[in-house]
Symmetry: C3
Subunit: 357 residues, 3 copies
């Protein structure tokens, strides 16, 4: 049985279904993509990040970069977007991320490509879907890895009767070890890091484990905004764009790409974490609930841990949990009651940032 | 009688009316415009095209371009936009296009200018409007033509009693001959054209005349998106921007620039035509029905003809009909019943694309 | 008493309140920012300006610039945006501008920074708010001033009982003297200024004091558009982004950044002032009434004065009043009845533009 939406002999690609994946399979993704100053500007217009290193060539050069690097999350979204046509076009849900490391700074003019390896498969008991685990890698034109991450998604089967694959669920680290952080960050000349110009007086030493920060502001998301962002990443997941279909679907409307929430939370986090100029790793992320056009996103963060990085005296690492909510300010740090998230929570992100010492 | 919306002595330009045009008249258009990486990024955010040659400097260089060229339709829209203040500010309808050829690749940093020649005039029997045919040409700062096309528009008369001009309707070719295609495409090094990285296994030889392709996906258009696009092209046609006036007008709302539909259909067509990296010519186009904010656009294509290009072994040409619809998936290829278009059809575009052989 | 929205010990910044300002205080603002071709493209997509000097490197070089300079208002908004976190995050109203001069052309690749000096303070009789006057200066990485302006804002007090500062209201000039204009404009090679390519036949000598121009067109503003613009400038004023809070606030909805209206009016003014390629100074500006998403903006201008500039034969200066309205065409030049503005007026801007002679 073929996918009914693709006519016999049609050359359009309806995406891979669960039974199309094989353990160990390596998938080279389209589309090769050069990142430019233009991409940066569109991203800035959509999220308004204010971290100085990414905002200013002059600031970046002063502290040790050859020029302002591309925002880490823009790199993530572009690489992620490449994996969508092959991995998650028929996904029911994006279940999680792990072991995401930023390995090399990306600059305007760099070309990004991506490959994924299938590292886990497990059919669900319904036999209608299965879980696919992939390790995806983004690399530049010299073949150097810039980003590496694991994600797992629930993917529909084309045919419920297709045989189930041998089950394999990969072990993933709960957290990237601090010693593995910082590959994408040159040595920072801390004496030339101008905290006033960066917008925050608080450096690595000022944060303590357990500390909570309400990022105060809220940003309302418009349909045009998330569509522009997701297309900028060349992420063609249908659920974000096709209101004709989605108005009759699960949510009655378009679903916003989960990465949009991460970028909003990151931009909001500037207020309180203004010197956290680089995301070094994402330990794990969960899209607790969906976000829709018209919703207003708020965020707060907790410092889960502080760590020096072996061999580096310029920067230290903060492990953060950032919680994003919709239509609910975070003054009182909404999180969980027992195992259940506060109903307003939409994102629970566990990641490492670097900050000057 | 003057245009009542322009006060006596006012320096604002209300646009040309039908009786302002003279056969053979040459009109140099404003505004000179440099295309940049920034324009490309905004365009990508609005349409999400994924053709590898335009997306990646590295991919483009590998196959024979000096760098990634500007998307053909972005060039078209910018040149078209320049003609609007002089040709179609008082247009009732954009009736058609013919003999559109892309003559030279355009790159970031190139400056575009445009001129039009009036090649046909015919007053309508109502005496309230007339049809103006122009051949418009876009050229770069070296004066080399990058684009050449004919369009005809129905333009209001300022004064119903103004004398009718001598009637002239130009002959236009039904289709550009395949031998005239490819001027804007360098010799492609097919051995270095990586179809996996481009996102489609189907090359020129895999398509057959008559073949139909449903492009599957749908894209909902937001008001902000088409306004941003149309302004990016410096196209000031009022009907796209002024909801105060249009809410009382013909459609009760802003009308979306017809070129927006062409760009959406082109982006959708990637799914099934991923290696059709270059639009070489547009034989004809008809905006069958208007598109409005909130509508969802779908598209399908039929291969009308396949043609080799004399003297070239690197690429071949496919003549395509791409049909765009609104709020109607194209699984069953909606087109015409007799002479009448399916009521969901909004665009009927006949054009040539190049594909590696 | 602390700001209740910031928890004890929280590192997020709730902005300065009236009693935080001291006369003579100098504030260095974050975030250092490099302006790129990408920013220009996003700005163009949002406003659609068509002034040739800013649109075309080729045109700009012909007349004497090294390349197309950044739109004056984009420079203004970026510098203004930097001042917001320190000056006006707790502002009730942006009351006025004065003595704004553009001092040096800005080009893609330039990095902008900003400092402000507190030059006036006056507590209001309610004791709940006070007026803060600042002189803000934008400068490039070489430390050269590119922009200098005074603005005054009404700012909330954190604590009504805090002591009032010594009152000081600075004198500001009603208008910049014409002899002080033009620092940001190189000598224009008028013989190479192609007015057809610029889109208007009217040069400096064609305008007369008192003359009025209806700019005819209207532009409807979408929520996504003003949010993208304001974030592009890294202006984090909450009232523009947080519909959750604003829907319960003063206006029941998000307020559009006043600078958005200035940019719309400037873009509209192209029709009638197409050769007014450079804003040399803003004498004063008043946001008479708020603008909201869905409103349509119109504009008209009056020439208040014409002035030669001592020592320059290339360009002359026009002092303009541009009035913007919402949901009301400007055919009859709506302005004031006695001291009261027409209820449709939203902006009254008094500024100097340069035009080729």
């Amino acid at each position: 049985m073929n996918n009914p939406s693709v006519p016999e002999g049609g050359k359009a690609h309806a995406g891979n279904f669960f039974e199309d994946f094989r353990l160990g399979q390596e998938i080279r993704h389209a589309t090769s993509r050069t990142i430019t100053d233009g991409d940066v500007a569109v991203y800035n217009g959509l999220f308004g990040p204010r971290f100085a290193v990414q905002s200013s060539d002059t600031f970046a050069r002063a502290v040790g970069y050859p020029r302002a690097p591309i925002d880490d999350l823009l790199v993530f979204h572009v690489v992620f977007g490449k994996t969508v046509p092959d991995i998650s076009l028929n996904a029911v849900a994006n279940l999680g991320y792990a072991e995401c490391r930023f390995l090399k700074a990306v600059y305007p003019g760099d070309t990004l490509n991506a490959v994924s390896e299938v590292i886990g498969l497990k059919e669900n008991s319904s036999r209608k879907t299965g879980i696919v685990h992939v390790r995806s890698r983004g690399f530049n034109r010299d073949g150097a890895s810039v980003l590496d991450f694991i994600r797992w998604v629930m993917v529909r089967k084309r045919d419920e009767n297709a045989a189930a694959p041998k089950e394999k669920i990969p072990d993933t680290a709960k957290s990237i070890d601090a010693s593995a952080l910082g590959a994408a960050c040159p040595t920072i000349v801390v004496s030339r890091y101008d905290a006033t110009l960066a917008g925050s007086p608080h450096l690595f030493g000022d944060y303590t484990a357990g500390e909570k920060i309400d990022h105060i502001d809220g940003i309302t998301v418009e349909e045009a905004e998330h569509q522009i962002a997701t297309r900028l990443y060349q992420n063609p997941a249908r659920i974000h764009f096709n209101n004709f279909a989605e108005s009759k679907g699960r949510f009655g409307r378009r679903l916003i790409y989960g990465g949009h929430v991460i970028s909003l939370a990151r931009a909001l986090s500037f207020n309180g974490l203004g010197n956290a100029f680089h995301i070094a790793a994402i330990n794990g992320g969960r899209h607790v609930a969906p976000l829709f056009g018209g919703d207003t996103v708020f965020a707060w963060s907790q410092v889960l841990a502080r760590s020096e990085i072996a061999g580096r005296t310029d920067v230290g690492a903060l492990r953060l949990r950032t919680i994003a909510t919709k239509d609910r300010p975070c003054t009182d740090f909404p999180f969980k009651t027992g195992d259940d998230y506060d109903p307003a929570v939409i994102l629970d992100l566990d990641y490492w940032v670097l900050m000057p010492r």
